[in-house]
Symmetry: D3
Subunit: 137 residues, 6 copies
């Protein structure tokens, strides 16, 4: 059967700052600039999750998108939406919440829930002009 | 010469339902939910066709986009626009018109018309949040 | 208090055809063209609901958008989404479902549910290039 | 001379929470829900500033947009971008930073800097689906 | 019958420069900056034409959008697309092609072709961040 | 460390024409149509630059996007914005400024400035419907 990629968009709003505890404030500011503001700033994160696999002969689906939508809601939206990523999300207690690192965290959370014969890819927009993609390698 | 991908967008509006004749109404509803409504629903499908090949030294084109635009118009827009995919489009008489299957049908129609030394890829948006990509393998 | 307009977007997917029962098929086709296809076609309708009024001194809201979102969901999305407007939606049994008429039906449904000291306006996209606005007069 | 409106877009990223100091935490949560999270959340705010007036016969401009862009940069972007609105922006020390109130603050800041024979209007997107407009009355 | 506004989008690509023949090069540069480059620059202009009137009881249309689309094609797209506005478009021989002036020219051209009981409005994007609106007064 | 792609958007407005000096006017028109207009036309070019590499363990960045933004500004925006590509940009003196060729020129300019252990890719929109991608091979 043909191999197709299905994509589903979602979004969440969150506060964050770029910051390393083991660096001085001066070094944090030198490297991360205004993104290191100790009072936080925030974004409307736009997320695009892509799943690649063969079309199921019976249904014509690669994966039921309503299942994918529910997965994204449970694993990402409920965990991150209207949260402070640094303060309230366990994965970023020791990990700097750059767009790169957030995309890896999202990939890892979804990877465990999606059948291994399907490939997974994450696109995450921090702003309409800055975004990242990660496919797990 | 450098290998570049050229992309052209197009769109069509159509009605469809997700449905298998060989399944009971109950099973169609269980698997396809409200997408299986026997009275049909519809979408503004947004299509993106991508063609990859070497830049022609003479013209600076990979492929003349006005030829690609005309091809898409003849093969896709005139065949699908303002149509009921299940009822009026031959390719979906026995094939469930999921976004996945529509992308494969579009790929197959265009593949026969585009020079084999050019690679072809299809992106099809069923809604702004749900879309698929297919590159023929 | 300052008078501000708050806007909320929503969407629904539906099938329809432009058609008058009291006209011949020839006249329907002459006036409505391919939009009159008896097998229906469809759209991703994008809806924008705007409510104007004074900012509430206590909350800083004109109207709680989560209430507006719920209203749109109940009155519009649940009534129209994944439906055939001509066949399944009572308001279009005798009314041609042009974008103009759909916007008036949505306005009338929401108008009865929103406090009269707030002004209401509807924007409805039938396609990204064709849309209508209606403010109730 | 004809009266035309010129529009300029800008944006800023900020953290905020909806919150009244004089209310209990319970009441803040009851009214503002997850938007009241004490650890803050954030948005990519998109701003559109509109200025209406007669076309200047000499220049063909209503207002030089490079002057308007500079004004927006100084008065809005430098004041709000990568800031925590509740903690770091004086105007929201006693004012709840709802989209409605932010649009009024932006209007008031720009109004003092733009010639009185020009009308001013503000559109502020908190998310792509929630936005407000304010024209000073 | 309810009064509704119908909107139709179109676009054209053109070269232009901001420039007054009766000014020195120095003054042109001082006022118009890099927009005055004597070798021209260009834009993808996005146009939105809005027509307001009562819904026709028979058709459910304010105005048949296929007629409006044809009008825009003949009066605007064929006149401006892939043209140099300063050099090749008669209306800008003596008029500086600012977005403001282009919107007035488009309004005046369409106004003569659209029934006087319908109101007309023009929105013209010079870039996604700079645009103008004109309603004929 | 995981390999992630970071993307940054930018844009420039420019005039151009498609044209070969060594062809007759007739042949230029036959091949390039209205894009060959000797008075030029123009576009709002939207550019997306993508850089792929391992996440830096220290910063959580693949590449500091403020450095990438500055590079794009110096190498692309300052060189092309508000310019006539055929007349004023050295790279197109002997090269036809098709979107394909522009993307290769941008790639080549940025490639020399970005660390070789990072992969580079260019996406260039000539219009919202026509665009190209190039990854250097």
């Amino acid at each position: 059967m043909p191999k197709v990629t299905v994509h589903r968009k979602a979004h969440f709003n969150a506060a964050h700052r770029l910051y390393r505890k083991d660096w001085s404030d001066e070094k944090n500011t030198a490297v991360f600039g205004k993104c290191s503001n100790p009072n936080f700033h925030g974004h409307n994160y736009d997320l695009e999750v892509s799943v690649t696999g063969e079309i199921d002969k019976e249904t014509g689906f690669v994966m039921d998108l309503s299942i994918l939508r529910k997965l994204i809601k449970e694993e990402v939206e409920e965990a991150f939406d209207h949260k402070n990523l640094n303060v309230e999300v366990a994965e970023f207690k020791e990990v700097n919440p750059t767009a790169e690192n957030i995309s890896v965290v999202i990939y890892d959370k979804l990877r465990t829930k999606i059948n291994r014969n399907l490939d997974l890819s994450i696109k995450l927009y921090e702003t309409p002009r800055n975004f990242v993609t990660y496919s797990g390698n």
